[in-house]
């Protein structure tokens, strides 16, 4: 697992960061772009690029929101989500799923596995930011 906000952000800015997102994605440049966007929005961003131990990493990290790629080395995002939802206290954790496959049945499969929002690649930055804001707002209200 790699670090949080970049040193490019002022100390006081980082100090007020309390919301944490865990980004599980094996494409480093997508990770970098999303990390930049969310950090700028005030999120603390942790990243992970492996599927095999992703569930353990989520449990240990206790994020406010997870962004999860479907095709990951070792274990698919779909299986990670299913296993996660089985765990106590993880049924309502907001999970935004990113995938290269946007067919209806993939969407249905993700919904069945317990996804909060499903987004197909290539997505726009606005879509990601809006989804993260919405999901966090819904979780805060609920």
């Amino acid at each position: 697992m790699t670090g949080g906000p970049d040193a490019a952000w002022p100390r006081e800015e980082r100090a007020r960061m309390s919301r944490k997102v865990l980004l599980i994605e094996d494409e480093p440049n997508i990770t970098e772009a999303i990390r930049f966007l969310l950090t700028r929005e005030g999120w603390q961003v942790e990243t992970h690029a492996e599927g095999t131990d992703a569930v353990e990493v989520i449990v240990a990290s206790r994020p406010d929101l997870v962004i999860l790629d479907v095709m990951l080395p070792g274990k698919s995002g779909m299986d990670i989500l299913r296993d996660l939802r089985e765990l106590e206290g993880m049924s309502k954790l907001p999970v935004l799923m990113l995938t290269a496959r946007g067919q209806l049945r993939d969407r249905e499969m993700a919904e069945k596995a317990g996804v909060s929002r499903f987004m197909t690649k290539p997505f726009s930055n606005t879509e990601v930011l809006t989804a993260v804001r919405d999901l966090h707002a819904q979780a805060s209200q609920g």
Partner: protein, 432 residues
Amino acid sequence: MARDTLTGSRIRERRLIAGLRQADLARNVGISPSYLNLIEHNRRRIGGKLLVDIASALSVEPSMLTEGAEAALIAALREAAADATNVQAETDRVDEFAGRFPGWASVLAQTHRRIGSLERTVETLSDRLTHDPHLASSLHEVLSTAAAIRSTAAILAEPGEIEPEWRDRFHRNIHQDAERLAESSRALVGYLDESEAEDDHRGVPMEQVEAFFAAHGYHFPQIEDGEEVASVALDDLESSAARLIARRVLEEYAADARALPLQALAAELRDDEIDPLQLAVRTGVDFATVLRRLACLPESLMPRATGLVLCDASGSILFRKSVPGFALPRHGESCPLWPLFTALNRPLVPIRRRVAQMGRAAAEFDCYAIAWPQKVTEFDADPIYRSAMLILPVDSADFGRLNAQQVGSSCRICPKSDCAARREPSILSEGF
């Protein structure tokens, strides 16, 4: 003359309509013109693969040749009625319908055939998109790189300055991703072009091996004559993985041929009925060997079509020889109700089941299967099991005589909704 003895005359009639010379059609289906002449004059009975090949060469359904146009039309209408959902057709009046409105009846039958053909196309494409590992990873690579470029470019295009360190990093990332995108797009287009040009989808070594065996008619005379496996040229196989797999399959073929030589097997074959278990008893050879041997006989000994599937204990398909009417998915994830998998639950027990595949025309098949342990070379080592299933099409006159077990191809294209073995929803369930 009885209806089914006129098959030869119908072949002749259809050949003339198609404007083909006897020699052309004979060459097309791999028989001599004199043999075709005997068939056309109803002096040789015809069935099995040869009938299917001739029907295919003449672009007609096999039943059109064996039963005539009206019977074929009525059969097609019955199939259309059976496949309809939430609608009850007056099947007891199908003869009257076909007789009074032959044009409309033909339109209906043709439309039903077209739907079947489109479903098979969807099945193939869906199977490919889902299971072709090369295609799936190539598409993922292209779309992920595009996502990275889009996201990074949007950050750089935003009004206002960003830190020089971030800007330089994003510029570098875009350059890297653009290079990767160009490379992965070229590779993907090359792969698709190659597949289209060859009219098949040999994306993985196993498919190359299957294409290689199909090109040889699943029969290797030199091995039957006692020559080494090395005598079979494997140059047509592109990858070393495919050549390795082919060599292993051929080594098993050679061992089977030594255990049950062609001559000994031919002496035990009966014209009208094939009973693999009796063959095993009479020849003293194990049941699995008999199943594999029956699937690799030349047409002169086995005029009917045969299919074969081999799998390991995980259910992964190791080898397939397809048979018309019985859909075999290209990669894994087959219907767990196949006798092939039932056999894994009861190792060493020969299994026979009559099955009908859901979502297909109402064809039935006799499936023979057995699972057996591979040779163990160490004490206390767990044996590795394999399973084989021979698929024999049932003559249409026998359809419905036994209670056929309903099986599928794979869940994704199986219409059976209340199946205890279902793993995932069917893409055909929404009335496709």
